[in-house]
Symmetry: C2
Subunit: 294 residues, 2 copies
């Protein structure tokens, strides 16, 4: 019985190189790369091809770029000048059992799900991927905090807003570096966990009472939580780092008006640790393929 899994990786950025290296450790996998023609580097046993050369009807797994497919059916290809455009027909040619990996889902992909039998896995939505990625995100935040202040993290007053997958990793690391951390949350279980870790907690309703002491304010909540009253209390030389995806959680206009330095830091894993970020994706895809096979 043929145990070989046929995979096409179509487009992607620098992170995908270490993902491919990781996937290539899986002997049951036969990989083809599309959109990597300008890449000098090769991978033993992995074939580079072009979009029209793919035997679509034989693919078990397709890996799309992190941002998915845009409204015109197009994808980003960092390592190619080719314009790659998907169509409804292309998706209909895939076997019914095919799994499609993407970073995030898009309206175009949502439409394709409804029209075809394909199984779509938006990797960045997964809890495990978000938690693994929270490690390079937290390290990138530490780097920014050291670069953009003239004082040490040690003994600094750090407010972290939110205690989700990113907030927990960020708060515990700043705490480990000797900062005086206070975490704002709403969920009583989160407040309990923050306390268990030996970190100060507060309810988000009381945010205004805490921002005044902050040397660094780090937001992880994807909602406008840092509004004018909270910013008004902030020291003028405080640093604000917003880790929440667009549009972020800060009233940027008001912060600018007050002259407060705000860094909206997006995509830190790809910036500070592309190798680790790629390996995280490779590991998860490998796990999911094996689970699928069982």
């Amino acid at each position: 019985m043929d145990q070989t899994i046929r995979m096409a990786i179509i487009g992607g950025d620098a992170r995908y190189l270490d993902m491919i290296k990781k996937l290539n450790e899986n002997d049951n996998l036969s990989m083809e790369l599309v959109g990597f023609d300008q890449l000098d580097q090769g991978f033993a046993g992995v074939k580079k091809t072009n979009f029209s050369g793919l035997e679509v009807e034989k693919l078990d797994v397709v890996v799309l770029p992190i941002p998915g497919i845009n409204e015109n059916g197009m994808i980003d290809t960092v390592f190619s000048n080719d314009h790659i455009q998907f169509s409804e027909d292309w998706f209909k040619r895939l076997p019914n059992h095919t799994t499609i990996f993407t970073g995030i889902t898009t309206p175009y992909l949502e439409k394709m799900i409804q029209k075809t039998a394909m199984h779509l896995i938006p990797l960045m939505n997964r809890d495990d991927v978000a938690i693994y990625n929270s490690i390079p995100t937290a390290e990138g935040t530490i780097m920014l905090a050291i670069q953009h202040t003239n004082f040490t993290i040690h003994q600094a007053n750090i407010c972290v807003l939110g205690f989700g997958r990113v907030g927990m990793s960020v708060a515990s690391r700043f705490h480990a570096l000797g900062a005086k951390v206070a975490v704002g949350a709403r969920n009583p279980a989160d407040i309990a966990r923050i306390t268990e870790l030996g970190i100060q907690s507060f309810h988000m309703d009381d945010i205004i009472a805490y921002t005044g002491q902050c040397d660094i304010l780090i937001n992880t909540i994807p909602a406008k939580v840092v509004t004018e009253p909270a910013l008004k209390e902030l020291k003028l030389n405080a640093l604000v780092i917003d880790l929440a995806s667009k549009p972020g959680g800060i009233d940027f206009l008001y912060a600018k008006k007050r002259g407060i330095k705000v860094i909206h830091a997006l995509g830190l894993p790809g910036i500070v640790a592309p190798k680790t970020a790629g390996e995280i994706l490779g590991n998860i895809i490998n796990q999911l393929i094996i689970t699928d096979k069982k």
Copy 2:
């Protein structure tokens, strides 16, 4: 009885601004600044003056720049174009009880000690200052490690050489960030302490057996300890950070020949946290003056 301590701060860099701010919290201190004429900023109650305007005979404390006085009797003045030159006569005009603070001692200062009654305190030689400064040094090392690698500190193999004042702060912080740290030392008490912290230890004689696994090698030992045999084992994409003062502890020539990236990171406290570095100096001087008075 007049409890006022008359202090002159003569020259200095950006760190001295936060040192002056800290010293200015001491109400018993009357400060005069020399070599700060180009500084826009003022400090309440602190007088800026020029070198010839000082009433040398009345000074209780003199604070010199971190690098001390050079062989020609000159000092660095970052905030002035004046050339300030000391003489043996100048030092002889000081009262016998005067305390002189400098960062490091120099041959010129050593000569003056022998010829006058002055009491010289090289701050950077002090254990407490070195330990406080090891905090911004460790944070600067973390920043460099994040900036100059494409993987996370978390789960990376980090070798730290030396477990003195800097080595201990560096090793414990990388350990706290989830790295797999191994520390090389010689002293059995150091090996015991490393083990107590839950960190792997090895004897410096066995260094060659450890460098091969290193993703990041951090040296804190001020002696040529990382020689050709140790560098030969290192992965080509490993990062070497040398924190030992000049001439450092790495065979830089051989490392370059092998294409290994080496960062000789000196003066990190002044670079990543000048405010904290200045406050450390201000706190220590304040403590020493008060102790002197008792």
